[in-house]
C-alpha cells in the first residue's frame, strides 16, 4: 500500500498542474483583479487607494437595484420550490420506472435548448396581441389587452419557467435515495399522513430543496438576459447594471465595486438561507 502511494505521488504533481493553473489564472486572478480595481484609482502609472467607489455604490439607487434583484430571486426560488416539490414527489414515488425516466428526460431536455430562444418564445405568448391576450379577449374575460411584457410579471414568469428544472432535479435526486419503506413503517406504526410527511418525508428530502434554492438564488441574482429582453429596460437589475458599467459607461472600477458589494449581499443571503433550512430541518427532526 505504501509503495503504491509512493508510485502515485510523482505523477500526482504533474497531472494536477494544468487544471489548477487554469482555474487560478482564469477564475481566481480575475476575481482578485475585480477586488483590486474596486479599491484603487488608476491614473497614468499611479494607483491610489480609495473608498470612493464604495461610497457611490452603496447609495440609495444601487442598494435599491440589489434589493430588487434579491427579492425577485427569493420570490422565484420560493415559487419554484413550491411547484417543484410535488412534481419531484410525483416522479419519485407515484409512477413506474419507465415513466420516471421519461419524466426526467423531459425535464432535462429544455436545458439543451438555447435559453435565449425560450426567452424569445415568451414574446409570442406575452405580447400585447400575443397568445395570452388574444385568448383572454376571445373568451371575453378581458376587454382590453393586458400589459404582460416589459415588466416584472414577464421577468418573474420567465425566470420561473427557465429555472424550475434546477429545483426539480435536486429534490428528485434526494427523494430517489430515500427509502419508501420509511413511509410504510411510519404508517404501520400508526402515524397519520400529515405527521409522516412532516416528520419523515420532509426532513429527509429538504436538502434537495436547499440545493435548488441556493442554485436558483445564485443564477437569478445575476440574471442578465431575461431583464434585458423582457424587462423593458426601465427597471435595472444587478446583472444589467453590471453590464452597463462594463460596457456602456466603461467605468470598470465603479462596476467592480458594485460587483463586490452585490457578491457580498449574495453571500449573506446564502448564509441566511442555509441557516433557515438548518432551523427547519432541526425543528422537524427534534420533535420526535
Amino acid at each position: 500500500m505504501k509503495k503504491f502511494k509512493q508510485r502515485l505521488s510523482c505523477s500526482f504533481f504533474f497531472s494536477i498542474v494544468p487544471g489548477i493553473l487554469w482555474q487560478l489564472l482564469f477564475l481566481c486572478l480575475p476575481l482578485v483583479f475585480i477586488i483590486g480595481l474596486s479599491f484603487f484609482e488608476i491614473s497614468d502609472k499611479l494607483a491610489l487607494f480609495t473608498m470612493d467607489y464604495y461610497r457611490v455604490v452603496t447609495n440609495k439607487f444601487h442598494l435599491l437595484v440589489i434589493l430588487r434583484s434579491l427579492s425577485v430571486s427569493f420570490f422565484v426560488a420560493t415559487v419554484c420550490s413550491l411547484i417543484a416539490y410535488p412534481v419531484a414527489y410525483f416522479i419519485a414515488f407515484k409512477v413506474s420506472k419507465r415513466w420516471q425516466s421519461i419524466g426526467l428526460f423531459l425535464l432535462a431536455l429544455p436545458f439543451w435548448i438555447n435559453f435565449l430562444l425560450q426567452v424569445y418564445a415568451w414574446c409570442f405568448i406575452l405580447e400585447r396581441n400575443g397568445l395570452v391576450n388574444s385568448f383572454l379577449l376571445k373568451i371575453g374575460l378581458i376587454s382590453e389587452p393586458l400589459y404582460l411584457m416589459n415588466n416584472m410579471v414577464s421577468v418573474i414568469l420567465v425566470m420561473i419557467q427557465g429555472y424550475l428544472p434546477f429545483m426539480i432535479l435536486p429534490i428528485y435526486s434526494g427523494m430517489s435515495r430515500f427509502s419508501k419503506r420509511l413511509i410504510e413503517a411510519s404508517y404501520d406504526l400508526g402515524a397519520s399522513a400529515i405527521y409522516t410527511f412532516w416528520h419523515i418525508t420532509l426532513p429527509l428530502t429538504i436538502s434537495g430543496i436547499r440545493t435548488g434554492f441556493i442554485l436558483i438564488l445564485v443564477m437569478t441574482f445575476g440574471e442578465f438576459t431575461i431583464p434585458t429582453l423582457l424587462g423593458g429596460g426601465k427597471k435595472l437589475f444587478v446583472g444589467t447594471l453590471i453590464s452597463e458599467y462594463f460596457f456602456t459607461s466603461r467605468s470598470m472600477s465603479q462596476g467592480s465595486a458594485f460587483v463586490c458589494v452585490s457578491a457580498m449581499v449574495l453571500c449573506g443571503a446564502i448564509l441566511v438561507v442555509n441557516k433557515i433550512f438548518g432551523l427547519i430541518s432541526g425543528a422537524t427532526d427534534h420533535e420526535n
Binding site: F4, R7, C10, S11, F12, S15, P18, G19, I20, W22, Q23, F26, L27, C28, P30, L31, F33, I34, I83, P86, V87, F90, I91, K94, L106, A108, L109, P110, W112, I113, N114, F115, L116, L117, Q118, V119, A121, F124, I125, N129, G130, L131, S134, Q161, L164, P165, L215, V218, M219, G222, F224, T225, L229, G239, I242, S243, M252, S256, V259, A263
Partner: protein, 260 residues
C-alpha cells in the same frame, strides 16, 4: 376519506404535474408552431409555409456564427475534459483542498465570472475573440467536469487500479489502459454536457467575444433585440433537432454505465 385520498393521488397530482410540464414546454411548442407560419407579423397564424427554413439556409451569418460556436464548444470541451481527467487521476482521493477550488465556478453568478474575465483580458492586453472565449468556456466546463469525474472516480473499484500497478504497469499505463476505459461513459457524458453548456452560454460570449467572433447565442440575441423574426423560429427548430439527438445520445450513454 378514502375516496378523497383516491381522487387526490389519481386526479389532482397528475393534472398538476401535467400542467407544470405544459408550462415548461409551452415556449418550445410556440417556437416550432410559428416557424411554419406564413406571415411577417408573427402573432397571428396565417398559413403553412417553409419559406423561413429556405431563408435560414440561405443566410450566411447564421452559419458563420454556428461555426464559431462549434469551434469554441469543441475546443473547450476537449481542454476541460483532458485537464479534468488528469486532475482527477492526480488527486487520487486526496481532494480536501483542491476540489473546492472547482466549486467556485458554480457558486458565483455567471455575470461575475464574465466581468472578471473581461477585466482580466483588457488589463493584460489579451485580445478578445475566439481564444478568449475558449479560455472562458473551458473554465465553465471545468466547474462541471471535475466534480462529475471525481464522483465517478471515487466509485471505481480501487482493486483494479491496485492490481494494475502490482502487475507491473506504470502509472501512465494504468491511467490509459485501466482508469480511462473505466471512466469512459462518464467522460463522454461530461464532454457532451460541456459542449452544450458552451453552445448555450451567452454571458461570457457577450463580454469576451470580439465583433468577428460572433457566436450563435450572440447572433440570436442581436436578432431578438431587432424584433421578432420567424427566421429565429426556423433556427430554433433546427437547433432543437440537433439538441434532441444529443440528449438521446447522452441518456443512452449514461444508461450504459451499469453494464461496465
Amino acid at each position: 376519506m378514502k375516496i378523497n385520498k383516491f381522487r387526490f393521488s389519481k386526479l389532482v397530482m397528475p393534472s398538476f404535474v401535467g400542467s407544470v410540464y405544459f408550462f415548461l414546454y409551452l415556449p418550445i411548442f410556440i417556437l416550432v408552431l410559428f416557424s411554419f407560419n406564413d406571415a411577417r407579423f408573427v402573432y397571428k397564424w396565417s398559413g403553412f409555409t417553409l419559406d423561413w427554413y429556405y431563408e435560414l439556409f440561405r443566410s450566411t451569418e447564421v452559419w458563420i456564427a454556428l461555426k464559431n460556436s462549434l469551434i469554441v464548444a469543441f475546443f473547450s470541451g476537449l481542454l476541460s475534459l483532458s485537464m479534468g481527467c488528469l486532475l482527477v487521476w492526480g488527486l487520487f482521493r486526496r481532494s480536501k483542498i483542491i476540489l473546492p477550488l472547482f466549486y467556485i465556478t458554480v457558486m458565483i453568478p455567471d455575470v461575475v465570472v464574465a466581468v472578471g474575465l473581461l477585466s482580466f483580458f483588457t488589463m493584460l492586453y489579451i485580445p478578445l475573440g475566439i481564444t478568449a472565449l475558449i479560455a472562458g468556456h473551458t473554465l465553465l466546463g471545468l466547474g462541471f467536469v471535475v466534480p462529475i469525474l471525481y464522483s465517478c472516480f471515487k466509485d471505481l473499484d480501487y482493486g483494479l487500479i491496485e492490481a494494475s500497478l502490482d502487475l507491473g504497469a506504470t502509472r501512465w499505463q494504468t491511467f490509459f489502459k485501466v482508469v480511462l476505459p473505466l471512466l469512459k461513459p462518464s467522460i463522454i457524458a461530461a464532454g457532451l454536457l460541456v459542449f452544450i453548456i458552451s453552445l448555450d452560454d451567452f454571458l461570457i460570449a457577450f463580454f469576451c467575444a470580439s465583433s468577428d467572433s460572433q457566436t450563435l447565442s450572440l447572433y440570436i440575441f442581436s436578432m431578438v433585440r431587432l424584433g421578432l423574426s420567424p427566421l429565429i423560429n426556423a433556427l430554433s427548430v433546427f437547433l432543437l433537432i440537433i439538441s434532441c439527438s444529443f440528449v438521446l445520445l447522452f441518456s443512452n450513454l449514461s444508461d450504459k454505465k451499469e453494464f461496465f
